[in-house]
């Protein structure tokens, strides 16, 4: 059911403008990070890489980057493990209370982050936990799992349980089946889940802000730097690197997700 040609092209025009506006704020950051001016404004005055050079010897930033990396890797790994459990249960089994269980697990997706952050803060301080990277990882895990599940469910839906049965009938132990049949078939969606949850953790600010104590992640470090107007160009340079990193990670995640989709389609026909 198509629109008339005229309305289709105006709809197309609208969509292009919309996508352009979606990207302009993201693209302005790298543009100004190469601008030879201490304040980000138009017109651009000249090309420089000095804001990037300024990052090189910055110990505090490197520590923050390291912290982000540790948090991101742990959150991505654990979130994928929990995501596999949930996605498997949701796609394979019918049981009472399934909706409730999945609603509780998915809830962090639509809760105001500040409420998750303060409730974790109160409990963690209450039981005497010191705020550290561990507390940030625990918080990030909560918001990464729903995304992992969304990515992984697609993988589980496309894969035929009879393959696992065949493996068991042929004498593999359940651990062997998991390692040699299930996980390889899920590999693309697992990779996609790892990359997406790492990116989300890398980008997350509010939970990290409340729970990181004296060990800032990169967004928390950036937040601290915003108080100093003179540091803004360096922040933009760092931000550009972060955006580029997210972009690369997400592109790989998308490619992996597509492979998962393709696998499941061809596999489905074959079986």
């Amino acid at each position: 059911m198509k629109l008339r040609a005229g309305s289709t092209s105006s709809l197309k025009f609208y969509v292009f403008v919309y996508v352009a506006i979606l990207y302009i704020p993201v693209l302005l950051i790298p543009v100004f990070s190469f601008n030879n001016s201490a304040t980000p404004k138009l017109p651009l005055v000249g090309f420089t890489i000095k804001w990037y050079e300024g990052l090189a010897g910055n110990g505090a930033m490197q520590t923050a980057a390291w912290n982000s990396l540790i948090v991101g890797i742990c959150a991505a790994f654990l979130s994928t493990v929990l995501g596999i459990c949930a996605a498997r249960a949701l796609t394979r089994y019918k049981f009472r209370g399934k909706t409730v269980a999945s609603a509780v697990i998915m809830a962090p997706l639509i809760m105001p982050e500040i409420i998750i952050a303060i409730s974790l803060l109160v409990v963690m301080l209450g039981i005497g936990m010191e705020l550290s990277l561990l507390t940030v990882i625990l918080g990030h895990l909560l918001i990464c799992v729903p995304y992992s599940i969304t990515v992984l469910i697609a993988g589980f839906e496309g894969f035929d349980p009879s393959m696992e049965e065949a493996s068991r009938d042929l004498g593999e132990s359940s651990w062997g089946t998991l390692r040699r049949v299930t996980l390889p078939m899920l590999a693309p969606s697992i990779i996609s889940s790892l990359l997406v949850s790492f990116t989300i953790s890398l980008d997350e600010f509010i939970l990290a802000f409340f729970l990181s104590g004296t060990e800032p992640t990169l967004p928390v470090y950036i937040w601290g730097q915003l108080r100093f107007a003179a540091k803004l160009p360096n922040v933009l340079a760092l931000g550009s690197i972060l955006i580029l990193a997210s972009l690369v990670l997400l592109t790989f995640a998308e490619l992996a997700r597509r492979r998962a989709e393709k696998n499941s389609h061809s596999g489905g026909q074959f079986q």
């Binding site: 919309y18 996508v19 100004f32 109160v122 967004p219 950036i222 997210s246 997400l250």
Partner: protein, 303 residues
């Protein structure tokens, strides 16, 4: 151990293990790690916050006797009441604006995306996942007095002096949040549009319905679950946004999350902060319920 005892023990063991072997048992067993995690780190802490909101703080110690005075303060003190109303107003505006602007995009991708639907969705979601903090910062640069927007409009001669209402205002908060949440509105609408059986539209067309009529009587009612989901998915989280009001909101754009943060930070009055958080959640959920009811009323009218 007597024989009967042993038999009973075996029986109970069997029924226990048969539950674990049943489909329901397997399901619960498999979902339990993420479910327990969410219970322990989400439901548990939320319960603690709710409990906190009924306590009171006396300098540094927390008095555990039940009191409603935090709620009284949260709902009647002008400063908190205003912040609550403003946050609610901002998040409703944001969700409506975001959904209205997002609908045509979701429609385009679903009906005209062809082979490139996946690519379109990827393009739309990428900005959502990169640089949360930086995007807000970027809007500050765009909307500022000497910012990108004012600068461009001045040099094009469209305005003769910079617009001052752009930055540090409620509208700045609404623009920035609507931009941040765009992808979250497009996805659910897209999903519900994808589910529409295209033959219904063809049948209506064959029977002589105009495009506008088909759109209003078939597409919109069938996309309503997606539209509702999109509204709620934007409304609920944005009511508690903390960074956007802080960076681009100025005095007029302060929201309730900023007040909550102060209570858990500088002011250090956890019970009051907890009551503010709980009130916000309850009010926004009531609002969400109202929106659902309104939209379903609308659906009946359209049909």
């Amino acid at each position: 151990m007597s024989v009967t005892h042993q038999a009973a023990a075996e029986e109970s063991l069997k029924s226990g293990s048969s539950f674990l072997k049943s489909e329901a048992g397997q399901g619960w067993l498999t979902i339990s790690p993420p479910f327990l995690y969410a219970l322990l780190l989400l439901v548990g802490p939320l319960t603690v916050i709710i409990a906190n909101s009924f306590w009171s703080q006396d300098y540094l110690t927390i008095d555990h006797t039940f009191t409603l005075k935090n709620y009284q303060a949260a709902l009647t003190e002008p400063i908190y009441r205003d912040l609550l109303f403003r946050s609610l107003y901002i998040s409703i505006m944001v969700s409506v604006v975001t959904v209205v602007l997002a609908f045509p995009v979701a429609y385009f991708v679903s009906f005209h995306g062809g082979r490139y639907k996946g690519l379109w969705l990827f393009i739309i979601t990428v900005p959502f996942w990169s640089g949360y903090l930086l995007r807000i910062l970027s809007w500050k640069v765009i909307l500022g007095y000497k910012g990108v927007l004012n600068g461009s409009l001045l040099s094009l001669g469209i305005i003769s002096e910079p617009m001052t209402w752009l930055l540090y205002s409620t509208s700045a908060v609404i623009i920035t949040l609507a931009h941040s949440w765009a992808a979250f509105a497009i996805l659910p609408i897209f999903v519900s549009l994808e589910k529409i059986d295209r033959t219904l539209l063809e049948a209506a067309a064959d029977l002589g319905d105009s495009w506008a009529r088909r759109f209003l009587r078939i597409t919109v009612p069938l996309a309503l679950p997606g539209i509702t989901a999109a509204l709620l998915i934007v409304l609920i989280p944005t009511v508690g946004d903390y960074v956007t009001p802080k960076l681009v909101g100025g005095k007029d754009g302060v929201m309730i999350a900023n007040a909550i943060q102060v209570q858990f930070g500088k002011a250090s009055n956890w019970p009051l902060g907890a009551a503010l958080a709980v009130s916000t959640m309850i009010i926004v959920c009531m609002m969400a319920g109202l929106i659902v009811a309104l939209l379903y009323g609308l659906k009946r009218i359209l049909k």
